[in-house]
């Protein structure tokens, strides 16, 4: 029953957001694409020339590129594994009848609100520091040699920090999904003699699968862009041991002043993110049709 008038007004109301997002999406991306075919170094801004596919060849044959892709993969999969498994376990635990459930919830979700540089620096200095950290104190208590986490296991250390930050997100989403599970259904299963294990396999897991999908997809989008945690802890090192794709592009672009190389790297980051995005959009889109 929308009149012509209403429709025009609706279009006008949407115009600012559409225009703003269109510019935001198209202009910088077009520039990245353009730069990726140019020899352009910020240190010598006068010497800009057409480079053909040189930047791509240069960036994609760099051994650091393969390492960064591998590190990105390990980082994303490692964090996903910890947060999804840990999140499910913690959500199931909190969903039990317990004393002080509200406070437990608050404690568990808190890390999510800690800004990345703070989270990383607390872990780096107060927890994992080889001399003064809590882990070192524990090791010394048992008479063991403290581990220099960021020197010996740089990528693993970053994974631990990022997993700590995202565990609350997975827990909260899964808990929300868990609590929407019909308690009548649970009781019916119980009456039919299904034990805890069977109820979990045949009732809870199928019910949670949708939430798990959403958790995986959304986290992947954010995890592909992990930056600050690496910057303040290992700075990508030692060597390229904890450099992910985001950090490699940042290194090339901002520290190497190489606009063309950074742009060529940026294009593959876009392609990677798009692959994940397609799946996420499908999952979210299904919900819209309801």
């Amino acid at each position: 029953m929308a009149t012509q008038n209403t429709r025009t007004l609706a279009r006008l109301m949407m115009a600012p957001s559409v225009v703003v997002l269109l510019i935001w999406m198209a202009v910088p991306l077009a520039m990245t694409l353009y730069y990726s075919f140019q020899n352009y170094n910020l240190l010598t801004p006068m010497n800009v020339s057409f480079a053909g596919f040189f930047n791509y060849q240069y960036f994609y044959t760099d051994p650091a590129f393969f390492q960064s892709i591998w590190n990105t993969l390990l980082l994303v999969l490692g964090v996903l594994a910890i947060t999804v498994i840990g999140g499910t376990a913690i959500a199931l635990l909190i969903d039990q009848p317990i004393f002080g459930q509200g406070i437990v919830r608050i404690l568990v979700i808190s890390p999510f609100f800690v800004m990345p540089p703070v989270a990383a620096l607390i872990w780096k200095n107060m927890i994992m520091h080889p001399g003064y950290g809590v882990f070192a104190d524990i090791a010394k208590f048992f008479g063991l040699q403290p581990i220099d986490w960021f020197a010996q296991y740089p990528l693993f250390s970053v994974i631990i920090i990022v997993a700590w930050q995202w565990l609350p997100f997975a827990t909260l989403i899964l808990l929300t999904a868990l609590q929407s599970l019909d308690s009548e259904q649970k009781e019916a299963a119980e009456m039919d003699g299904a034990n805890f294990f069977n109820r979990f396999i045949y009732l809870t897991i199928p019910h949670l699968s949708r939430a798990v999908t959403v958790v995986i997809l959304i986290q992947t989008i954010f995890l592909l862009g992990i930056y600050a945690e690496i910057l303040v802890t290992t700075n990508g090192g030692p060597g390229y041991a904890s450099t992910n794709l985001t950090f490699l592009i940042y290194r090339t672009a901002r520290l190497g002043y190489d606009v063309g190389g950074g742009a060529a790297g940026g294009i593959i980051a876009v392609v990677l993110a798009n692959i994940v995005a397609i799946f996420l959009m499908r999952a979210v889109g299904k919900n819209l049709d309801k």
Partner: protein, 274 residues
């Protein structure tokens, strides 16, 4: 809940849940405790009992001018959120109450802009900002934070607006209310809770944004994310001071966060999990 649970079982589950919760919360708690220690105590080995000094908080202010990045964080997160709401409210409104065949496509396209990796457009943005003198300016960063959170804001508002029953609108229309009157007198009061939730979540997201805030600022416009990141290279004994700065940086948003658990789920899953 008809399930009967014995007290023993409940105590067992409770102990397990509290142990896990305290372990997860521990790094935050330990930072707060360390902030109340002297620098000597902070490196003297594990201890949960600080001497209770507030000197670190004073030092962080007097030596590093903590108030400036703090105010920048407030201005940037609140400013970008209000700007995003001004752009998003009419848009989400139109899509929720006057949907067309293309509404879903537009929503999905808006969501897709959120998927673009920031680092891929780092240099274009950097060069644009440099050209227009926006580097290290609060104006530039406010625009940036508005842009990156706009899709989430529109989506969240849309899912809230869609829940406002359409019959109320029709009733108002029957009574001869114009669209403008509908908006001001009928819908706005019903939409306020949704707008408030969106505001809250977006302030949290903007406060904690740590890519663009670090890339595009140096000193003038640097918010707390960039300020704290500057602590990454240790200068002498700094554990307790770092803890004090960290505690102040996360406390306000932690408390806001506790109040917005539900909205968090909704906002960050784009309505896919409620």
């Amino acid at each position: 809940m008809a399930r009967s649970v014995s007290t023993g079982q409940k105590i067992g589950w409770s102990i397990a849940a509290w142990v896990v919760a305290l372990l997860i919360f521990f790094p935050i708690l330990y930072a707060v405790i360390t902030s109340l220690k002297t620098e000597q105590e902070a490196i003297a080995g594990f201890s949960l009992i600080p001497s209770g000094t507030f000197e670190n908080y004073v030092t962080v202010q007097t030596q590093r001018d903590y108030f400036k990045p703090f105010m920048n964080s407030v201005i940037l997160s609140v400013g970008s959120t209000i700007l995003a709401l001004i752009i998003a409210i009419p848009s989400a409104w139109a899509m929720a109450f006057a949907p067309t065949k293309r509404t879903k496509d537009i929503l999905m396209w808006m969501l897709s802009t959120k998927m673009m990796p920031s680092v891929a457009v780092l240099l274009p943005i950097f060069i644009i900002f440099r050209t227009f003198g926006l580097l290290d300016s609060r104006v530039g960063l406010t625009i940036m934070l508005t842009l990156i959170n706009l899709p989430i804001v529109i989506w969240m508002l849309y899912t809230y607006f869609r829940e406002i029953p359409g019959e109320i609108l029709e009733a108002a229309r029957m009574d001869g209310a114009s669209l403008w009157k509908e908006i001001v007198y009928v819908l706005t009061p019903m939409a306020v809770p949704g707008i408030a939730s969106t505001l809250l979540l977006n302030i949290i997201l903007a406060w904690n944004e740590a890519f663009w805030t670090i890339q595009l600022t140096t000193t003038n416009a640097a918010p707390l994310t960039a300020f704290i990141a500057s602590f990454s290279s240790p200068q002498g004994l700094f554990w307790a001071k770092l803890s004090a700065a960290s505690t102040m940086a996360i406390a306000p948003i932690l408390i806001l966060g506790w109040f917005s658990q539900k909205q968090l789920v909704r906002g960050l899953t784009f309505g896919a999990v409620k």
